[in-house]
């Protein structure tokens, strides 16, 4: 079996595209962890539900794909708000019950989706049809669109956090909870905002992921793991870290799978997490 330059180029593009979905899921996780000091164990399921919402709308009901993604963002954000209000907020600080409840919630969401949708392979329609050639390699347009969407959303989030009053308030809350409280910032508003935003981004991640592989109710578990890996690589709470970490992880996985088989691609994140935790616990861009 020969590996051609075409394969490598294809594999890099696929890796970047996967990286894009990792970024979208990782951003929510890292921001929620930063501001609420909790790991959202059901975040992978939020991502999965985002993808299934797009499927429900666009494939089963013929809604325009992009409109479906926007509707999915909104409904997933609302789901996030409800989760925050009824589960995350009341259980803040009670670690054990929190872990049990969110893990249980993941199972419930998975089962609900499994029972709601019929069996059989489910895929989302192409984001953008056709392909083009770069340096002798054919690249499907939808992959490029997916990468661009992921990076664009990240940029918007970054600008929001840097330039707007509520964005600065969120950043401040992550850096010093009491300091933020003493500026009159309502921590509940911050938690609600961060979970809503993180969930909406995860929904887009699900839609992009669904354009690469088939949807299934358990897709969130793996995505959650990637999100965690990306936080460890990039550094907690760092947006540039999430971007670099996500793209790095996506491309490395994809290339390793190409050269050494799919198993290596699966092992890599675990190896990276361990290596970073030992040699650089604050990640590439994290502080302290």
């Amino acid at each position: 079996m020969d590996i051609t330059g075409q394969d490598v180029a294809q594999s890099i593009i696929n890796g970047l595209c996967m990286g894009g979905t990792y970024i979208l899921i990782g951003l929510g996780l890292t921001l929620i962890l930063g501001i609420m000091n909790i790991l959202q164990f059901a975040h992978g399921e939020v991502y999965m539900i985002g993808a299934f919402t797009v499927y429900l709308l666009s494939v089963l009901n013929g809604v325009n794909l992009y409109v479906a993604v926007v509707i999915s963002m909104i409904t997933t954000a609302i789901l996030g708000l409800i989760l925050e209000r009824v589960l995350l907020r009341p259980l803040k600080g009670q670690f054990l019950s929190y872990v049990c409840v969110t893990t249980g919630l993941s199972l419930i969401l998975q089962t609900t989706i499994m029972l709601t949708f019929s069996k059989g392979t489910k895929q989302l329609p192409s984001l953008y049809k056709g392909s083009f050639e770069i340096a002798g390699a054919y690249v499907s347009r939808e992959r490029v669109v997916a990468i661009v969407i992921a990076l664009l959303l990240t940029l918007i989030l970054y600008t929001f956090l840097k330039r707007t009053k509520y964005g600065l308030a969120m950043t401040a809350s992550a850096q010093n909870r009491e300091g933020a409280l003493m500026q009159g910032i309502n921590p509940n508003l911050m938690s609600a905002m961060v979970v809503a935003i993180g969930s909406a981004l995860a929904a887009v991640g699900g839609a992009l992921g669904g354009s690469i592989f088939n949807l299934d109710p358990y897709m969130g578990g793996l995505a959650f793991m990637k999100g965690i890996t990306l936080i460890v690589i990039g550094g907690l709470g760092s947006i540039p870290g999430a971007v670099v970490g996500g793209l790095l992880l996506g491309v490395a996985e994809s290339l390793l799978a190409l050269f050494f088989g799919a198993q290596m691609g699966i092992i890599l994140p675990l190896v990276l997490v361990i290596a970073f935790l030992i040699f650089r616990p604050r990640g590439l861009f994290g502080h302290d």
Binding site: K165, L168, A169, T171, A172, Q175, N176, E178, G179, A180, L181, M182, Q183, G184, I185, N186, P187, H287
Partner: protein, 235 residues
């Protein structure tokens, strides 16, 4: 009275760290709360801004009972608390820290005016506005945390040991700043271990010892009383 604490008790777990603490702060005055390590000074301030739950007693601000309110609500009423240890946003710039200080101000024009005004009083901060807060010197950080509170336009400013860790020259600077704040019409409740600084700026003074108020009165009277002289002025 702008602030009235009546018979306040606070417990951490089983330990009662404040009992029967009553403090009155008149509008427009500078009041200081003196006491050694672990006397309960920070706890008193934290009870005022709702950062610790109170076991009994009442706290009134401007004719409203505020104990039991969420911290951000108390801040909204016009109370600003400069926390012990500064509580800056270390990876945000000086300017961003100040902007967050103006979070409650809805009018952008007023915020801009407030920032200008602050920079007139703290030119050092203007020079360093683009620098991350963690890279400031201790004195500059203390200025920033006070400036951040002032940007919020408080009626009552709670200062928790602003002199902590500062060189004598900077401590004098802090006392100048406190007087300046007072002249702008802001009421100040100052917690200090640095007795000279406190007595230098305060109209009234309370002395806290292991959770009890053991002395209070006009600063002048207390300076003349044996208790404070012996315990806190080393004379």
């Amino acid at each position: 009275m702008l602030l009235e604490i009546k018979d306040l008790a606070v417990r951490y777990g089983g330990a009662e760290v404040l009992r029967g603490v009553s403090v009155e702060v008149e509008e427009g005055s500078v009041v200081t709360l003196l006491g050694g390590n672990g006397a309960g000074k920070s706890t008193t301030l934290r009870a005022i801004t709702g950062l610790v739950p109170i076991a009994s007693g009442e706290i009134w601000f401007d004719g409203r009972r505020i104990d039991g309110l969420a911290p951000q609500k108390i801040v909204e009423l016009g109370v600003r608390h400069v926390l012990e240890g500064r509580a800056l946003f270390p990876y945000m710039t000086v300017l961003e820290n100040l902007k967050v200080g103006a979070y409650l101000q809805k009018d952008r024009g007023k915020t801009a005016q407030m920032l200008k005004d602050i920079f007139v009083h703290f030119p050092r901060l203007e020079e360093r506005q683009g620098q991350q807060a963690r890279t400031l010197s201790g004195g500059e950080q203390q200025m920033l945390t006070i400036a951040r509170a002032l940007v919020g336009g408080p009626r009552l400013l709670l200062l928790d040991e602003p002199s902590l860790g500062l060189a004598p020259l900077l401590i004098r600077e802090i006392s100048k700043i406190v007087r300046n704040i007072h002249e702008r019409g802001v009421t100040v409740l100052l917690v200090e271990q640095n007795t000279r600084l406190a007595l230098d700026v305060a109209d009234r003074c309370y002395v806290l010892e292991t959770g009890n108020i053991v002395a209070c009165g006009l600063t002048q009277e207390l300076i003349e009383s044996d208790l404070v002289r012996k315990a806190y002025l080393g004379a």
